[in-house]
């Protein structure tokens, strides 16, 4: 049963991802990206991380995609012609990606978990949200604070960039 769901979500995710990078209209891309993000959220559920799934939906689907769509609308980015859709070195880039994929796939396929397993068994993970919350404010307090700095910088930076050029 789980396997079946996995395959369904996977296939949808892959197809929509391919569409994201291949369609000409950025608006369509953005919409496909939303679908893809949703599948990823579903994957998190399969991986017993409902909290992550929620975060995924809120942030990616909610915030990020809105930003994207907003940008597309504001900048009035219309369709581009087919021959313009790829840039000069794209064949090289594509070939590179494919070669790397096969190499990586071989490595992924042959790998296995060898490290000693941790304490968070499936039962512990049932309280996913609680566990994560506790960890974030104790063990992970340091990166948590740093991330806040990142957000501050991003905030200030985005405002600066946009405002500044408006002045000019």
């Amino acid at each position: 049963m789980e396997q079946l769901f996995f395959y369904i979500f996977s296939i949808v995710a892959i197809v929509s991802a391919i569409l994201v990078v291949s369609v000409r209209n950025p608006v369509h891309s953005a919409l496909y990206l939303i679908i893809c993000f949703l599948q990823v959220a579903a994957m998190f559920v399969l991986l017993r991380s409902p909290f992550l799934a929620a975060v995924q939906v809120f942030i990616y689907v909610g915030a990020v995609m809105v930003l994207f769509l907003f940008a597309v609308m504001v900048l009035d980015l219309g369709k581009e012609r087919l021959k313009d859709s790829m840039h000069s070195q794209s064949i090289l880039g594509g070939a590179l990606a494919i070669v790397l994929f096969f190499i990586a796939f071989y490595l992924v396929y042959n790998g296995d978990i060898v490290a000693p397993l941790g304490a968070y068994t499936e039962t512990a993970l049932m309280k996913n949200t609680e566990v994560i919350g506790a960890a974030l404010y104790t063990k992970y307090i340091y990166p948590f604070e740093v991330v806040s700095l990142i957000l501050l910088v991003a905030l200030v930076g985005a405002i600066t960039l946009v405002m500044r050029h408006k002045d000019n």
């Binding site: 396997q3 995710a13 891309s29 991986l47 992550l52 915030a63 790397l100 396929y109 994560i132 991330v147």
Partner: protein, 100 residues
């Protein structure tokens, strides 16, 4: 039950598609979306490892990753807007004031 390899394979496929998008497409907004694909694929693999290793690190890492990615999108789009305002161009090839 899907194994770790299943998840990693999915992650890899998405990663490759994202990478290919960055490398192939000219439209910067689509390049930015491809970047998001990359981050998502990484998140899947982190979450999968976390699950199969019975460890919480991966999940927490995903949270940080998502947050950072969101911040990055903000910066990226701000840059995009800036460039668009000054140059009215959103294609990689057109950013050719400087020789590469």
């Amino acid at each position: 039950m899907p194994t770790i390899t299943h998840y990693l394979a999915l992650s890899l496929i998405l990663f490759t598609i994202g990478l290919a998008g960055v490398l192939i497409r000219r439209n910067i907004i689509i390049v930015l979306m491809s970047l998001e694909l990359i981050f998502n694929s990484v998140n899947i693999s982190l979450a999968a490892f976390s699950y199969f290793l019975q460890s919480i690190n991966g999940v927490v890492f995903v949270i940080f990753s998502i947050t950072v990615a969101a911040a990055e999108v903000a910066i990226g789009l701000a840059l995009l807007v800036t460039v668009y305002r000054t140059r009215r161009a959103v294609n990689v090839d057109e950013l050719n004031e400087m020789k590469g």
